[in-house]
Symmetry: C2
Subunit: 923 residues, 2 copies
Amino acid sequence: MARKRVYFFGNNRAEGSSAMRNLLGGKGADLAEMTNLAVPVPAGFTITTEVCTEFYENNQRYPKGLTEEVASSLAKVEKVMGRKYGDPVNPLLVSVRSGARVSMPGMMDTVLNIGLNARTLQGIITQTGNERFAYDAYRRFVQMYGNVVMGVEDEAFEGLIEAKKKEKNVKLDMELTAEDWKELTAKFKQAVKTHTGQDFPEEPMKQLWGAIGAVFESWNTKRAKKYRELNNIPEHWGTAVNVQTMVFGNMGNDCATGVAFTRDPATGEKRFYGEYLPNAQGEDVVAGIRTPQPINNVGKTDPNLVSLEDFMPQVYKELTVIYKKLEKHFTEMQDIEFTIEKGKLWMLQTRRGKRTATAAIRIAVDMKKEGLITKKEALRRVPPADLDQLLHPTFDPSAEKKVIARGLPASPGAATGKVVFTADRAEELAGQSEKVILVRIETSPEDIGGMAAAQGILTQRGGMTSHAAVVARGMGKCCVAGCGDLVVDYANRRFTVDSLSVNEGDFISLDGGKGEVMLGQVRTVMPSLSGHFGILMKWADETRRLNIRTNADTPNDAKVARGFGAEGIGLCRTEHMFFEGDRIMAVREMILADNVASRERALAKLLPMQKGDFIGIFREMAGLPVTIRLLDPPLHEFLPHERAQIEALAAEMNVPVEKLREKVESLKEFNPMLGHRGCRLGITFPEIYKMQTRAIIEAACELAKQKIKVIPEIMLPLIGDVTELRLLKKDAIEVATQVMKEQGIKVKYTVGTMIEVPRGALTADKIAEEAEFFSFGTNDLTQMTYGFSRDDSGMFLNDYLKKGIFEKDPFQVLDQVGVGELMKIAAAKGRSVRKDLKLGICGEHGGEPSAVEFCHRIGLNYVSCSPYRVPIARLAAAQAAVKEEANKQKAKTKKRPARATVKKAKVAAKKSKASAGRSKKRG
Amino acid sequence: MARKRVYFFGNNRAEGSSAMRNLLGGKGADLAEMTNLAVPVPAGFTITTEVCTEFYENNQRYPKGLTEEVASSLAKVEKVMGRKYGDPVNPLLVSVRSGARVSMPGMMDTVLNIGLNARTLQGIITQTGNERFAYDAYRRFVQMYGNVVMGVEDEAFEGLIEAKKKEKNVKLDMELTAEDWKELTAKFKQAVKTHTGQDFPEEPMKQLWGAIGAVFESWNTKRAKKYRELNNIPEHWGTAVNVQTMVFGNMGNDCATGVAFTRDPATGEKRFYGEYLPNAQGEDVVAGIRTPQPINNVGKTDPNLVSLEDFMPQVYKELTVIYKKLEKHFTEMQDIEFTIEKGKLWMLQTRRGKRTATAAIRIAVDMKKEGLITKKEALRRVPPADLDQLLHPTFDPSAEKKVIARGLPASPGAATGKVVFTADRAEELAGQSEKVILVRIETSPEDIGGMAAAQGILTQRGGMTSHAAVVARGMGKCCVAGCGDLVVDYANRRFTVDSLSVNEGDFISLDGGKGEVMLGQVRTVMPSLSGHFGILMKWADETRRLNIRTNADTPNDAKVARGFGAEGIGLCRTEHMFFEGDRIMAVREMILADNVASRERALAKLLPMQKGDFIGIFREMAGLPVTIRLLDPPLHEFLPHERAQIEALAAEMNVPVEKLREKVESLKEFNPMLGHRGCRLGITFPEIYKMQTRAIIEAACELAKQKIKVIPEIMLPLIGDVTELRLLKKDAIEVATQVMKEQGIKVKYTVGTMIEVPRGALTADKIAEEAEFFSFGTNDLTQMTYGFSRDDSGMFLNDYLKKGIFEKDPFQVLDQVGVGELMKIAAAKGRSVRKDLKLGICGEHGGEPSAVEFCHRIGLNYVSCSPYRVPIARLAAAQAAVKEEANKQKAKTKKRPARATVKKAKVAAKKSKASAGRSKKRG
């Protein structure tokens, strides 16, 4: 075999390591790494992600030789653990779990206790002396395997348990006896036979392979696909399969199981934080069915609970040593899972812990201060898009709040919305732009879509590490979990708190930081950007090369953006000003004008209003550049289209209905996107652009007289040919010169262009002869480069994403291959003619982190984005600079390969040849 | 002066030559060349085209030093001609004419007899002893100068002449005496004063500069601009001004004037062909007012006329020697003008003669056979677009014809249309897609637009070299001129022939080859492509590298195209088949289908029809490749949109109106161009493309069984990402494999893609991994690259052409800079991955000669165009190959410059430096 497909770990030595994350998946890599760190890990092995890919490429068949590799690794496990798989006396039981490159909580199926059958069960009974535990384990195995591998609905099994409990008149599973479980196990097997027509497999190796297959198949379930879609995880990554010795936290009262974070995942505070359940299996903690106990006394809020620190002080001490070792080793906050089997601590998992944006920032800043990581690394640690959570309002402390219930502060944030009780309804209403709060007894992976669509999540049951809490934190959603005051009534679509009843559609507000549930919509205030956030932003500003501007059309937007650190305006859309208030009437008058003179009369009415707008914006941006785009949209956007509206307007304007109708008709276009708009308006109606230029320069002059520094940049949209720009630039300069003469003062201004038409990019060398700056309008550029309009692509874009034709929606994530290629061409051609050509981007991609990095890479001067995305862009720009430097370092290292490396490579090549030869012989 | 601005010619030596056409204009260059050839040319000088450009760039002011240069050249003329400008005893008179790089007949103003005033007139009288001639010349000068230079309407002068004739009770100008003309001249001057408020200039130098200025100004008259627009002549070329000694063909009966072609401009036959008028000035021939006499007996049709050959045998002999010398020297058919002054022959002009396409072909083929030019040169001589004239039907000889009148066969062709009497009306009706025949007493330059809009031109007066005839031949329009049987009655919008009256709007037909005017619409037949045409096409085929295919959707189109030499089909649009007859119902059923199964049922109905189409087309194209594009247009194009139609269709299809309306509504798009179409349909409805693939392969298999060779190429439209292609190609291969298995026979086929979306071009390297061929869809590519749709660009494209932003409509002439850049990128990227990638073009540019040349240059394998354009493309492809070779030769020569050349260049550089120094001193 040329390719190793199975990696063993156990007894402090593993074949893999954390460097092999892509191959072994996150969990497999970390188990290997932990093993190598001499942390107590139950032995096992990992089947690589490549096998998953091969499996799907090869019509769901396993590659040759896999069986042999699995067998040989299993033998190593048996040796290390001192047990034998399928042995009736000393049986080894294993778990089979998925493990993709990145953690996908709850998305992949797991099967435990594999290897149990009538014969091995006896071994377990003999060894543990605990018949009830053994039969419980057995029925758990049959139930899980029957559900996950054989596809029997879990209700079938749960129904049998309920029936049994009824029969015995007991309430809890705990109250059932060994004999009950034994009976139930037999019934479970019968249920499997009834539902599937197949016998439940008794043969341990058949069980093992069934479970492995189920993991690979679960990679392509609907919910896994949905998660990948939401998280931009490519399909071809695949999942690894981890087969690991079972250890049990539920063998008795000297057993326990728990999960913990090395720091507080909500705030980032440096304290060991977690939960455990005595005499329980791991699922019991995560599933949120039993309320867990705090891991230590610091985290104890309820005096009735017993911490692990008090319950098993020795084990807690051991755990403390291990978590510190792990965090130090990975230099990252870890999310760990452990099981205590008869007093012996086993680590089942460690991985990078999910956290809120607040926590991510604090941890990064703290770790830098602790000397664990560098400043650059700290910058890399915070996903820029996550900052979004912090940039939105929180509840106004002075607002009146009617707190109706309290739960766990599972994921911070302030959310307000209409109550809904199902994920589907949440998606439906969110699709209609409604804000909703998803209320569930507890959430499950099927709810992912609804959670993403909701403003916040409220659950009746479950702890800080329950499904709802973990997923919400990952999404940056506000979540209040385990709110026991609530009684959720799905059937009647309502929940009650004592006598209060809240129905679907009623407004509630959630404070995820405090765990408060409030009635109605509570007033919010702007976020504060100081503290750890401020420090990180300062580091970002010191590191980045790109300037960050904002897209703002009003003085207020400009002010907000400047507060967020914007260094100017990259796009001020003048048409937004045309729609406001009574201006629209002057605009319509202008459109209806039959000749230049009457058009100029109408424009003269608009002039003072536009000038006023610019004065307000310039004032907010004093000392910083302001790029103003002249009128862009087609004129018909300013006119009504319905008969009744046309008639009303005609009356209001005192023009014949027929005339107005004709105008509306004559302005109709087959493809407005590709019609009479942008600079084409300026060419046919030069007086419009002249008025706008006059407004800009008059405003600039007025402020200049007040000693306020104004840097106007006049931007012409939709330029495809230099001649368009030449003509319009000439007009603009003429007007500007005239105005400055009238005003008796000079202001500096520049004239540039949007690059948003493919031809503009392709002929950028010509256009740069006239343009003093380019601003990439990637919204239109994306539409024209792909040849589909944003408005119409809904008809097929979902199909494209589902069928994997597009990995991402190009309107959200910049298409670097196609649209980006045009940007590169334009940048290179433009700078070839004008060395100091200022380059920016003002499309909506301007605040999207991957686009920011791309813009950095191709040498843009700035990105411009909406005010709330400015901090995101600042961080993304810093990360781009850090990444670039790292790549340069890498390139340097590559260029001069050390002797040892060369030697190693040669040896590897020889080996691979040799093994290829062997595999041929075998084949 | 660094730059020489005035070039003298005379007495067999000229400062210029025909190589300086850009600088001296066509006329100036040819006058210089003729002078150098020792042909008798009245001395004169040419002011360069650069002066015209400087004049317009410099606010209509002349460059410094021009006055001195003109004065010094005038002195040389005086010396050579033995006369003095402005001299009362022995006065020199001059003409001032325009002369652009290419001939623009009738477009530029001319002033004759300049230098006449009360004093110089006496010298003329004394020297000629012909007072009547002298006064006639004087009044002509005042009339022409008053009109052209001073802007007085010609009617003012003509009115005075008419009044005079009435007063004297005579009918013809000839009947007026010297005294009459003397009187009239005085009145003319008075009229100038009345109309302009200025005195008529008496000072000869003032007259000269006035005329020069008028020529430069006439470059920018409306009609000159219109001509340039129609003929794609750039504005910056400018015109030269030719100042030349006057010679007179109207001094008496030993004088004459004429124009001639060295070969027949209508048929190309090798015979000297021309007309003259005794005792007349040149304008009299061209203006078509007097019916001219044939130049020789071969051309004599009317026994009452006297040929120049008989009238002045000695001069005719001299003329024969000269025309042969000129044709041999220029190796081109010449259009010459001459004047005989008192028995002395003067050549006034020679230039490349305009000709019909038939003549162009015959002349090129004959000249090659005569050894005058090479085969390659012969190919270059025929403008490919002109072939269009020959590729359209002629009248069916067996059709019934009612010939109502006969005129001169001024420009061949068959034309049918409604009679109109004004150019405006012709343009108006043509704008409504009506075919019209423009009927005029005689045409003038103001009629150019109407002539271009008409199918054919019919005039009552004027000869074979009249304005109508020359312009019509240039345009390739059918023209019957000088049809004296006609009486045109503008006032009543009709013409009469004897008792027959034909009104505006009545249909007539013209046979420009026979000079026949027929009543009604006469049936036409296909052209024959043999003879000289066949020879030229054979040479083209031997020379070209590009293959020529056709765009054809029906067996008949395919057959026509193959007859024209098409080497396969480059684009077969399957949707055209969807609209035909009862198929549209099956298509609609398919669109209304709610699920895959019912969609497949509807498609099953279409399958046999599509298959039948393909069988027909494959059969016609046996042995040649056929590229079939799968369904492209958005589905809503197949449904009605008006309420009434929707209701009718719902009834017909037996579906609820509401369902149909909803479907129509749901398919509506904001920008259909950028919507759900092309391969996007294939992605969402794979069954449509599968049906089409099945139809193609089943058809191919059926013919293959009949031993007919079929080469199907399946083409996927609107591909922007390789993943689209990968998915659809997989489907196509699956279906094809299945069909061939069913049919038990194999056929070769390929799968490729349109490149018509910018992203497709930009990512061509990825796409070429899957595509076996690319076909550039330059219609869509142009729309998306420019970002304007063809349907909507009407709103501004005219403004763009008028304001000079675009030189040409990019939908007619391929934009090589922008769209072409994308093609180059795609070709290079595509071939970098797949060396043998077949590249073609199937947009409407495929038959446009400049695009064909571009496609050759960037290495395409073929161009595909409409059937009637196939011969044009064949010739254009040959010209591209010839040009490429010529450029290679040029490049070689440039690389190794001869020693002499280098030396010359150095000397030139030194000279230019020296003169620059001098000019500084003077400045």
